[in-house]
C-alpha cells in the first residue's frame, strides 16, 4: 500500500489537473456564464473550439490567449483583426471554405457566427484572464458529479436509485417498464451473469421455493462470493486487455507465464480488489510496489516481497501483446510497433479513448493531438519485459547447484546425436560413391565461392543427397548402434527425472538500461522523426506538463506510477465512468455508453448521462468495489425486469436504448462450452495454472502450421476445465470458440460480436466434442433418474433449461421417443453394468443443447 505521505502528496501534489477538475471551473459556473444575454467571442470559442484548439493545440492552434490566437497554427494566421472575411477562423465557422469547423458537429448558430464576425471586425480584442484553465466542453472529460436522485411518480417501482434514473427517462419518453421477470428467469439470468454457468436444478428449485423477502439479495451475495464469479468477469477483462498465450505472426512465440497474469485477474475479481488498486498494479505494479531487494536466506519468501510480487505480475498485461519479430526486420520498427500496442491498449482499456487515431495525425474529433499519443508512448519507453523468478533465492540457488545434472542430460543427448551423424555419414558416403566426381567436388566448394556451373553441380548433389529422411537413418543403424542408442535414450529419461525442475518465473514489466527519447512520428512513420516529446498525460485532461523524474529516494522510475496515480484520482473524469460502464454492459448487453472503448465524440453518447455519473461517483465512494456495483445493479428493479416485448414501447424505442426491458443475450463462446460440460456433468472446476490444450479433431487441426504446436494436455481431466483456462494461441483460435465470435486478440475488444450463422449450427450438431458431451448428458440422465423416458424428459429439461417442460413440450418429446423404433431402454454392457444410452436419448440430449433457450438467456 501507499504510505500516508505518498497519499497526501498524490492528492495535493503535482498537478493543476486537480485544480481545474474541481473548484474553479465547475460546470455549473460555466453553464451560468453561457446563458449570459450576450455571449462574448471568447465564450463562443470556449464552448466550441477550446477542446481542440486550447491546451491540446491541434494543428498548432491555441485560441486561449490573444497572442497565440493571432499567431495562428499550421494552417496559417487564424485571425486578421479588422477583417473577418479574410480570417480563417471566420471562414471555417461560417462554412465559407472547404474546411469546416467544428468537425463532425453542427455548425455554430448564426448568432454566434455573427458575434465572431463583429468581434474580428472590431479588432478581435479581449480581456486576458491569465492563469485560468478552461473546462473541456466534452462531457466525458469533465469530472462526474453526483446528481440528486430524481423523483419519480411511481415510487413503488423503485428498488434503488438506479431505478429512479431509469424510470425518469422512461416516463419522459412515454415508455412503460416491462413486468418483473419470473423467479425462474431471474435465477438463470443471475447465474449466467455472475458465474457464466447454468444453475443446477437444485439451485433453481432452492431459490424458487425460498419465499423470504431477501432470497434474491442472498442469492446475489452467494454468487458473488464464489470463485466462479472471478472466472467469468476475469474473462470479460481479458477481452478488454487483448489477452493471449502467444505473440502471433509467423513466430507466434509462446508466453510461458502469461497465465500468471490471467490468474492474477481472476484472483483480483474474486477478492474484490478495489478497481483503483487493480489499475495501479497493472500499469505500474513494479514502480509502486517495487521488489524490496530483500535477500533473506530462508526458504520463505519475505512477506512484503510476496505482496509486491503480485502487483508486479499484474504488469504482465504489457508483456503479452502481439509481438512481431522476424529476422531482417528493422529494430526501430519493431520497437515502434510494441510502443504502439502499449499506448493503444492503455488508451482503450483505462481511458476508453481511441488513442490509436492520433498515431498518424492529430485526432480529428477528440482533442488528442498527435503529440499526446507519443507522450503516452514515452510513459512506456523506458520499460521492458523481464522474466523474474518467483521463488525465494535459496530455491534459485538449489536449482543452480543441481545444474550439472542437466549438463549430464545434454551430454547423453550429444552422444545420441553422434550415433545419428555416424549413420548419416555412411549413407552419404554410399550415395556419393554413385555420383560423378565433379558433383561431389562442387559441393565441397564453399557455397559463396561457387561458380554458376558449380552451383548447378552442387544442386545435383543436393537433389541426390539433400533430403535424407529420418526413416532412412533409422534403417541404417547397426544392431549395436540401435542398442547403444536405445540405452542412451533410456538413460536420458532417467537422468532427466533427477534434474531440478524449472524455476517458476513470471513475465513482468521492468525497466530497460536506458530510457530512449521519444519523437512524434510524422504520419505515423517511425523513420520520419518530428518533435521530441516528454512523458505525459493527454493534455485535454490535465495541464500538459511532462512527468518529472522522481527526486524521492530510494530512486524508482516513476513515469508509469505517475500515470497510474493520475488515472486513479477520485475525480478523474474517465476511469470510474469507463469501468462502471463495462460492468453495466456485462449485465445488460449494452453499456450506458454503447461504445465501451470510445468515450470520445465519435462514440455513442450515453443513454443515461446522469445515471452514468451517479454510478461513477458511487463506485468511487464505495471504495472502487466492483462487487458492490454488481450488487447495486442486480438489486435494481431495472435489472429484474423481464424481456417482454411491447409494441408501443418498440415504436418509440425499438433498440431498447432506454432500457424499458431486459435484453436477451446469447451466451459467449467459453460459457457455451462451460454450459455443455456443466449439463453433461463433466465440468472440472479446478482453477488456475498453465493453459490447458484440449484435444481437437484432425480437421480442426488442419489450419495449424505445425501439429506439434498443439501438444494436447496429457491429463484428460484437464480437458473439461472452464474455457477461460484454455490455451489462447494468436495464430490459431480454438475453432469452436472462433465460430462463436471469440474476439481476435490483437486489439482491445470492447464488446463481442454476436452472430447467428450456419457454421455455429454445424458445430453444435456435429462437432466431436459437442456430440461427446451430449452422450455424457445421456449417461447422466440414466445415472440420475434410471430407465424411464418420462424421467429423462423431466430431468433433461431441468438440467438443460432450469425448468419443467410444459405439457405440450412433454407430449412432443414422448411422441419423439415413441416414433423411434429402437428400444427406449438403456442397455447394460460389460460386467460393471455400465449403461449404454439408446441413440434416441443421445439425440434428444443433443437436441436440448441446440435449443435457442439453451444458448439465449432471457
Amino acid at each position: 500500500m501507499l504510505n500516508a505521505m505518498e497519499k497526501v502528496r498524490m492528492l495535493l501534489g503535482r498537478s493543476l489537473c486537480l485544480l481545474f477538475l474541481t473548484g474553479l471551473f465547475h460546470p455549473e459556473i460555466l453553464a451560468q456564464s453561457r446563458v449570459l444575454p450576450e455571449k462574448t467571442a471568447k465564450q463562443i470559442l470556449e464552448a466550441h473550439c477550446f477542446a481542440c484548439h486550447g491546451a491540446a493545440k491541434m494543428s498548432g492552434l491555441d485560441l486561449r490567449q490573444r497572442d497565440t490566437l493571432l499567431k495562428g497554427g499550421s494552417r496559417g494566421v487564424a485571425v486578421v483583426p479588422g477583417k473577418a472575411e479574410s480570417s480563417l477562423l471566420y471562414k471555417v465557422v461560417s462554412g465559407g471554405g472547404e474546411l469546416r469547423m467544428p468537425p463532425g458537429k453542427d455548425p455554430l448558430s448564426e448568432a454566434d457566427q455573427a458575434s465572431l464576425r463583429d468581434w474580428i471586425n472590431q479588432g478581435a480584442l479581449w480581456e486576458e484572464q491569465s492563469g485560468k484553465r478552461v473546462e473541456p466542453s466534452w462531457w466525458a472529460f469533465r469530472e462526474p458529479l453526483r446528481r440528486a436522485v430524481p423523483d419519480v411518480k411511481d415510487k413503488r417501482w423503485i428498488s434503488n436509485p438506479i431505478d429512479n434514473f431509469i424510470l425518469l427517462t422512461l416516463d419522459s419518453k412515454s415508455l412503460k417498464p416491462a413486468s418483473p421477470a419470473s423467479k425462474s428467469t431471474l435465477v438463470r439470468r443471475a447465474y449466467f451473469d455472475l458465474w457464466g454457468l447454468p444453475p443446477t436444478p437444485e439451485q433453481v428449485k432452492r431459490f424458487i421455493e425460498d419465499s423470504s423477502p431477501d432470497a434474491y439479495a442472498r442469492l446475489i451475495d452467494e454468487l458473488l462470493a464464489s470463485s466462479r464469479y472471478g472466472e467469468l468477469w476475469g474473462r470479460h477483462w481479458l477481452d478488454v486487455v487483448r489477452y493471449a498465450d502467444t505473440g502471433g505472426f509467423e513466430t507466434d512465440i509462446y508466453y510461458p507465464d502469461a497465465w500468471r497474469y490471467r490468474d492474477y485477474v481472476i484472483k483480483s475479481f474474486n477478492e474484490d480488489k478495489p478497481y483503483d488498486r487493480f489499475v495501479q498494479e497493472q500499469i505500474a505494479g513494479d514502480e509502486l510496489w517495487p521488489d524490496t531487494l530483500e535477500l533473506e536466506g530462508s526458504y520463505m519468501m519475505p512477506k512484503r516481497k510476496l505482496e509486491h510480487l503480485e502487483a508486479r505480475i499484474a504488469t504482465g498485461l504489457y508483456t503479452l501483446g502481439p509481438v512481431l519479430h522476424e529476422s531482417g526486420l528493422d529494430g526501430e520498427y519493431l520497437r515502434s510497433e510494441r510502443l504502439a500496442d502499449m499506448a493503444d491498449t492503455t488508451g482503450a482499456v483505462f481511458l476508453g479513448l481511441t488513442m490509436g487515431c492520433a498515431r498518424c495525425h492529430d485526432h480529428k474529433f477528440d482533442p488528442i493531438p498527435q503529440k499526446d499519443y507519443y507522450r503516452m508512448q514515452a510513459i512506456f519507453a523506458g520499460s521492458q519485459e523481464k522474466e523474474i523468478p518467483i521463488v525465494d533465492e535459496m530455491r534459485v540457488f538449489d536449482y543452480k547447484q543441481s545444474f550439472p545434472k542437466l549438463l549430464a542430460v545434454d551430454d547423453l543427448r550429444a552422444a545420441v546425436e553422434r550415433i545419428r551423424d555416424q549413420a548419416r555419414k555412411r549413407i552419404i558416403e554410399r550415395l556419393e560413391a554413385g555420383l560423378p566426381r565433379e558433383v561431389v567436388e562442387a559441393n565441397r566448394v564453399p557455397s559463396e565461392k561457387r561458380s554458376p556451373k558449380e552451383i548447378d553441380l552442387a544442386s545435383e548433389y543436393e537433389t541426390a543427397i539433400g533430403g535424407i529422411k529420418e526413416g532412412a537413418i533409422d534403417a541404417e543403424y547397426t544392431q549395436l548402434e540401435k542398442q547403444e542408442r536405445h540405452s542412451l535414450i533410456l538413460k536420458i529419461g532417467e537422468t532427466y527425472l533427477k534434474t531440478p525442475k524449472r524455476i517458476p518465473t513470471a513475465s513482468v514489466l521492468g525497466h530497460a538500461d536506458m530510457t530512449p527519447d521519444v519523437y512524434v512520428a510524422k504520419r505515423g512513420d517511425f523513420r520520419n522523426k518530428g518533435d521530441k516529446v516528454g512523458a505525459g498525460f493527454p493534455s485535454v485532461l490535465c495541464d500538459g506538463n511532462d512527468i518529472a523524474e522522481s527526486s524521492a529516494r530510494p530512486f524508482v522510475p516513476q513515469r508509469r506510477k505517475e500515470f497510474a496515480l493520475w488515472l486513479t484520482q477520485t475525480d478523474h473524469p474517465l476511469t470510474a465512468r469507463v469501468m462502471v460502464n463495462r460492468l453495466w454492459q456485462g449485465h445488460f448487453g449494452r453499456g450506458i455508453v454503447g461504445t465501451a472503448n470510445d468515450f470520445g465524440t465519435q462514440g455513442d453518447p450515453p443513454s443515461h448521462p446522469e445515471l452514468l455519473d451517479w454510478l461513477a461517483v458511487e463506485f468511487v465512494e464505495r471504495g472502487w468495489s466492483m462487487k458492490a456495483m454488481h450488487r447495486l445493479i442486480m438489486l435494481s428493479n431495472t435489472y429484474q425486469m423481464s424481456n417482454q416485448y411491447d409494441s408501443q414501447n418498440a415504436n418509440i424505442d425499438a433498440e431498447n436504448h432506454y432500457v424499458w426491458r431486459m435484453n436477451r443475450r446469447r451466451i459467449e463462446a467459453e460459457i457455451l462450452r462451460d454450459a455443455l460440460l456443466s449439463v453433461s456433468g463433466k465440468l472440472n472446476l479446478k482453477m488456475g495454472g498453465p493453459p490447458v490444450i484440449p484435444p481437437l479433431s484432425s480437421e480442426e487441426l488442419a489450419g495449424l502450421k505445425d501439429a506439434s504446436q498443439w501438444p494436447v494436455s496429457l491429463d484428460s481431466a484437464e480437458h473439461t476445465r472452464r474455457g477461460v483456462y484454455l490455451y489462447v494461441k494468436r495464430s490459431f483460435r480454438l475453432p469452436m470458440f472462433e465460430t462463436f465470435d471469440l474476439p481476435e486478440s490483437t486489439f482491445s475488444c470492447a464488446r463481442r460480436d454476436t452472430t447467428n450463422v450456419a457454421p455455429q449450427a454445424l458445430a453444435l450438431l456435429n462437432n466431436e466434442f459437442v456430440v461427446k458431451q451430449a452422450g455424457e448428458f445421456a449417461h447422466r440422465l440414466i445415472r440420475e433418474v434410471g430407465n424411464s423416458v418420462e424421467a429423462w424428459i423431466e430431468r433433461g429439461w431441468w438440467l438443460g433449461l432450469g425448468r419443467s417442460p410444459s405439457e405440450s413440450e412433454r407430449q412432443k418429446a414422448l411422441q419423439y421417443f415413441r416414433e423411434k423404433k429402437e428400444t427406449q431402454q438403456a442397455q447394460f454392457s460389460g460386467t460393471a453394468g455400465k449403461p449404454v444410452p439408446p441413440q434416441s436419448l443421445k439425440e434428444f440430449c443433443l437436441m436440448l443443447i441446440n435449443l435457442n433457450e439453451f444458448i439465449y438467456i432471457d
Binding site: E326, G328, H361, D366, E744, T746, P759, Y816, Y856
Partner: protein, 496 residues
Amino acid sequence: METSISTCGCQPTPQIHSRRNFLERLGSGFGMLALSYLMDRENLLASPATSTTLVNPFAPRSSHFPAKAKSVIFLFMHGGASHVDTFDPKPVLQRLDGQKTPPSLSNVMLQFTKASEAPLMASRRTFKKYGQSGIEVSDLFENVAQHVDDLAVIRSCHHDGFTHSIALNMMNAGSLRLGFPSMGSWVVYGLGTEGQNLPAYIVMLQGSTKAGPPVYGSGFLPAMYQGTVLRTEGSPLLNIKPPSGLNLQEQRGMLDMLKWYNEKHMETRADDSNLSARIAAYELAFRMQTNAPEMTDLAKETAATRKLYGIDEEVSGDFGTKCLLARRMVERGVRFIQIYSGSGNGPDWDGHNLCDKNHQKMARQVDKPIAGLLTDLKQRGLLESTLVIWGGDFGRTPMTDGNANGGVGGGRDHNPYGFTVWMAGGGIQGGKVIGATDEIGLRAVKDPVHVHDLHATILALLGLDDKKLTYLFQGRNFRLTDVGGDNNLAGQLLKA
C-alpha cells in the same frame, strides 16, 4: 498531409442505434442498407419466418457501382515466386550475371542479403513471346502463356513487408499488422454471396500458411466473414458430417423436433430476430451438409475435364483438383475463393536455395491446372464474371541471397519492392502489360502499383468503392486499402 488525412477513415460516423452491434459499425453505405432491412422487418413482426431472410448477413447486396466480376479466384504462390524467372524478363540482368549489383540500385533492405555485396544472378529460364500481344513469359508457365491474351500482367507491384508473415498479411489484408480483415472477408462483408448453401469465402490450402489462419481471417470484422478452409480429403468442411451413427435422414428428424421447440419458444418472443435467424441458420446448416459433399464430388466431371486440369498427373493432381473445385464453387455462387500453392509447413516458392530448381518443381504443380482453369472458365462463359488473380507474398531479388541460409547457392531473397501479379477475367482486357521494374527487376519504377492500389482495383472490378467499404473500429472507419488505393487500375484494365 491533408490528402492522407482525408482518406484515412477518421471520419464522422452517423449515430445509428441499430439492433445488432455489428450493424452499428457498418460503413455508411452498407450500414444504411442493413438498417433498411431492419426497418423492413419491424413491419413484418407477424411473420418471423419471412423476416429471417432480411437479417441474413450473407444475403447478396448490391454493389456501389455496376460490377464486372461476381466471383474471385485468388491463386496464391506461397513463399513468393520470382518475377524475373516467370513474367518479367530482364535482358540486362542476363548480361550482368555474376556481377555485383550496381550501387545505384543496391540501397535496399532485404531479409538475408546485403544487396551491395551479393552478385546478380541471371534467370536460367527461356522467355518467349506468346499470343497476339506478344507478352513474354518464361518456360515455367508455358501453359498459362497460351492465355496471355487474356492476362493483364502488372509488373510494377510493390509493398513494404519483406518477411513472410507481414507480407502475407499485406497481400491478403492490406496491413503488415495482425488483426485486419482479409480481402475475401471485406468482399463478403460488402457483397454477401449468391450461393446461400455454401460458405461465401472458401480457402484451399496445402497445410497452413506461414502466418496461420489470420491470413484468411476476418480481423476486426465479425468472425462469420472469415475464410472457410475446404479440405480435399476427408470431410470437406469443418463439422459438415453428422456424427457416426447418424444419417442425414435421422438427423432431419432431430432437427424437426428442434425446430418445433424453437418455434414454440418464439411464440412469446416473436419480436426477436436473433431467434428466428438462428432457426434459419440450422436449416442452412442442414442444406450445407448435402451441398458441400455434392460440390466436392468430382465423379460427374468428364475425363477430358480432369485431363485439362492435370488432375490425373501426380505432379499437378492436387492443385488441379483445387482449381476444378474452384470452378465448381464459382458455378454455385461462392463469392471469393483462394487457392494456395505451397505452404508454411511444406515445400513452397521460397527459393532461398536453388531458386531455379525450386521454381521448376513448384511451377510444374500449378502451370497446367491454372491454364486448365482459364480454358474451362472461358469455355463455360464464366471467365467474364470471374476474376482470376495470380500472385504471392512478394517477388524475388535479382541477386542471389548470399547463401545466408547456408544453402547450396543459387537462391533468391524476398523482394517486395517490385514484383508481378497478373489478372484475368472479370471484364478486364487481356494482353496487357502494366508498369515495369528497373533494368534488373529489383524495384517497380514505371507506374508503380502498391498493394493498396491492387486491392482497390480488385474491389472496383467487383463494383466496390474501396473508400466506401468501411467498418468502424476503435473510432476509425477502417478500409482494406488503409490510406492508399488512389491508383485504382480498374479503368485502365477494363475492356473498352
